[in-house]
Symmetry: C2
Subunit: 505 residues, 2 copies
């Protein structure tokens, strides 16, 4: 029945590429149970980047890829990192063909098991009949037919073991259906993306020849909030600052000393609030100065992105955006300053009648093309100085405490710059066509993702550009509790990647 | 040897009251070991107000007071509170004499045992050779002689089992030395002061006759930071607000949504910083309006308080007071707004790349004469409204979230007003004289404590005024880890209270 449905729905897909699509769809439709069973096994292996069991994931992948007939499968590691190696494999079509290398990562964000909804657990995957706000029921994994709206819940379901499964099954679908890819394929599955990809550049540098390709296809992140497939041509850069301001050395009774001893929580509130105006614009000197303006092609692409702001606001539960005059698509093309957290003494039941000894804010800075992450950090530090603060990198000494009226300890994280691949790159155009070919809806072309990935490394160490082709549902709870993938997104992902593997001139 | 020393040091103390003082000093000097052993037993009984073992403290006190020959010793309770009763006792001199009732509390603040310094524990008292910053050594409790600078570390050592021990031993010292008090003495030891004295008014109301007196002497709090004895004639009132502001309903990825989704941590920073100017003055409309100006006698008393600000700032590790133009003594005579704590998502190692869903601030408001605690709460709420917030007492509904651009949930605590006893009250003058008589240094007369105690209840339910006569060292770590009392403060306290028990016309 399903096969007939496909033929009815896509009567216009008549060329070779569309025959490929129909064949891949038939393969998926006939093998859903097996695809899901295999995915569940993979999801059951804990995958926190900092833990040793990541090697187990890598080993599982090596065996799985070998079983699929992929060549030259191997672990890529560095001497300093044996816990989270990368996994490599390749399929050579012929020497003259272009080479596309598919990237995904098998590690996941840390988990707080207690926060997962009842019946769910990061490493015991569960199949539910929908998203949690639909009050879904639990379903057995073995089914005769699977509804497209069902979802698998587990850490990595969407970010990013789902990506790996879609890539590998795209290849298997083609191979089992007797379709030869038009490009040489390389597979590169990272094991520490969620821990900051600390060793990625070393692995790239040590394997330049092995990893040479014409384009990296990054399989990570969600499709557009409208549900449409999207291709993303860049990422924002990212860096962090942690700011601590100080009051008395010991907690003081808020009655005996309140009004007299300085309150670091109030100082921090004033400092943070000096950084943005009422309309969310950053007031730090020169904050927007380095930004390279968008190209015309990018402006057109942004203007074509479906406007989801109003329905998103309703779903997320707020009335007005931080910058009321800017939409989401415009905002993520600007550098940002965002408070990730504030902490000073305690609130709620743990609150006590004290004047806190210190107040801490974690801030992240997202960067666009033109920004330099260290220069951006420095702008914030100069702003803190301009508010009358003595800035130090360490806990203040007693001598400093009584010398300076205001003291801020600023701890700088590492960071990296934004990256962008031109929409005019010939491979960009060919990949857009390949993805567009899998659906009748117009795909979304996003000049940048709001989020960050260290994609500059591919450009810097291998002189090859990356393009991101995400597949997960946007409401996948990435990085949080109850991570999930909708089955339709998994099937769509297989189609998308198989189409790229059959890239046309 | 010690006795001779006393006689040499106080050759001028020649009248009856000073003979009493000398006798009490001799008693203390000869009984230090016994006084300390008994105190250690009392401190070893855990005394968190909300826990059941507070009854054990009350029972211990009943037995101890009976042993001392105190009459009519009894537990005072309410039907609704059987865990933290008050303990009463009395000594009648004659019907015509005035009656002084001594108040202290046996319960202590909650403890976080992990924060206590190594070797210390809230309910295993330890004797150290000094304060912790002096790198003291641990000493056995049984000694032939005790240095005045040694300190006992335990929860309640200074706040306020030390107060109870000083009161009871003041009476025992007189009795064992054959000195008859000049006033009838009543003892009232509360068991839930640190939990907010929720049932105190009921106990007072139910026992008006039993608790009738000419003056309440409150034995709680520290002496002046200069080390001088002080008498305090009032307390600030106190109430709290917890303010929560809201962003998205679920935590959002700070990359994908940063710059667009509203950040409640930034909103809270702006809201809090609107409440005070750069010089610490509260900007909330009418905040200082109700304040009853200080009397001339109070102004003179405040001007006479030793100026400790500079040495305190150095010790506490800050350069400038929150209100740079005001000293500590002046500041605590004003209403205050103090942030007790702020929390929004996480900082440090737990920090994540999120836009927090909410930000919370706990605020305490201290009140002076003229302020009404509910009116003061309302002023803050009106200020929040004036900043464009919709104010609610509950978590906002989905409908409210998309109706109002800014939402603040404000949770109001209970509270009470400030209380003051006139410096011109005849008993005020007699008690000042009694305390002044125990030392040659001028005692400190403070019109108010910066801190708060529900002293209004004595005035309201018993029509009797309270005066606070504290004894603990100011650096006693009250309410925090490593609470302690310096032995000299304990001995001085016994002298002080015995002098009040021998109050002169």
């Amino acid at each position: 029945m399903k096969k007939i449905l496909f033929l009815l729905l896509f009567p216009l897909l008549a060329n070779a590429q569309n025959n490929t699509l129909i064949t891949v769809r038939q393969y998926i439709s006939s093998n859903q149970n097996e695809l899901i069973q295999q995915f569940v096994k993979f999801l059951s292996i804990p995958n926190i980047a900092s833990e040793k069991n990541n090697v187990e994931n890598a080993n599982w992948l090596v065996k799985d890829m070998q079983k699929r007939g992929i060549s030259n499968v191997q672990i890529l590691n560095t001497t300093s990192n044996t816990n989270a190696p990368a996994v490599y494999g390749e399929v050579k079509v012929n020497e003259q063909a272009n080479t596309i290398i598919f990237y995904a990562h098998y590690d996941g964000q840390p988990v707080d098991t207690t926060k997962w909804s009842q019946g769910l657990h990061p490493f015991n995957p569960v199949l539910l009949s929908g998203s949690l706000n639909q009050h879904p029921t639990v379903l057995p994994f073995t089914q005769k037919e699977y509804n497209d709206q069902w979802r698998i819940y587990a850490r990595g379901a969407s970010d990013d073991k789902g990506g790996i499964m879609a890539i590998l099954n795209a290849y298997t679908a083609l191979m089992k259906s007797g379709i030869k890819p038009t490009v040489n394929i390389k597979f590169f599955f990272e094991g520490e993306e969620e821990a900051g990809s600390e060793h990625l550049y070393e692995i790239l540098e040590n394997n330049r020849q092995l990893l040479s390709a014409d384009m990296w296809v990054i399989c990570d992140g969600p499709v557009h909030q409208s549900g449409r497939k999207q291709i993303v041509f860049g990422v924002r850069g990212d860096t962090h600052l942690e700011i601590t301001v100080f009051g008395s050395k010991r907690p003081l009774h808020s009655g005996h000393y309140g009004n007299w001893a300085p309150n670091p929580a109030m100082q921090l509130a004033k400092l943070l609030s000096s950084m943005k105006d009422e309309d969310g614009k950053v007031l730090i000197k020169g904050f927007y100065d380095d930004v390279i303006p968008l190209s015309n092609a990018e402006k057109i692409a942004i203007a074509s992105i479906p406007y989801m702001d109003d329905s998103l606001k309703k779903e997320l539960g707020f009335m007005i955006a931080e910058q009321p005059d800017k939409g989401l698509s415009e905002s993520i093309n600007l550098p940002s300053l965002n408070i990730n957290g504030i902490q000073s003494a305690n609130t709620g039941k743990l609150s006590a009648n004290v004047i806190p000894v210190k107040a801490v804010a974690s801030i992240d800075l997202r960067l666009v093309m033109g920004n330099d992450w260290q220069r951006q950090q420095q702008k914030v530090i100069e702003h803190i100085r301009a508010q009358g603060y003595y800035v130090t990198g360490k806990e203040p000494t007693d001598a400093e405490r009584i010398k300076y009226p205001r003291i801020a300890m600023v701890e700088k994280s590492g960071g990296y710059n934004a990256q962008k691949t031109s929409l005019d790159n010939p491979f960009s155009k060919r990949i857009i066509a390949a993805v567009q070919n899998t659906i009748t809806d117009k795909i979304v072309i996003s000049p940048t993702l709001g989020g960050s990935l260290p994609l500059y490394v591919f450009e810097k160490y291998l002189h090859t550009y990356p393009i991101t082709v995400p597949i997960a549902n946007y409401d996948n709870n990435q990085h949080a509790e109850n991570e999930n993938i909708r089955l339709k997104n998994l099937w769509d992902g297989i189609e998308t990647y198989s189409s790229i593997m059959c890239l046309r001139k």
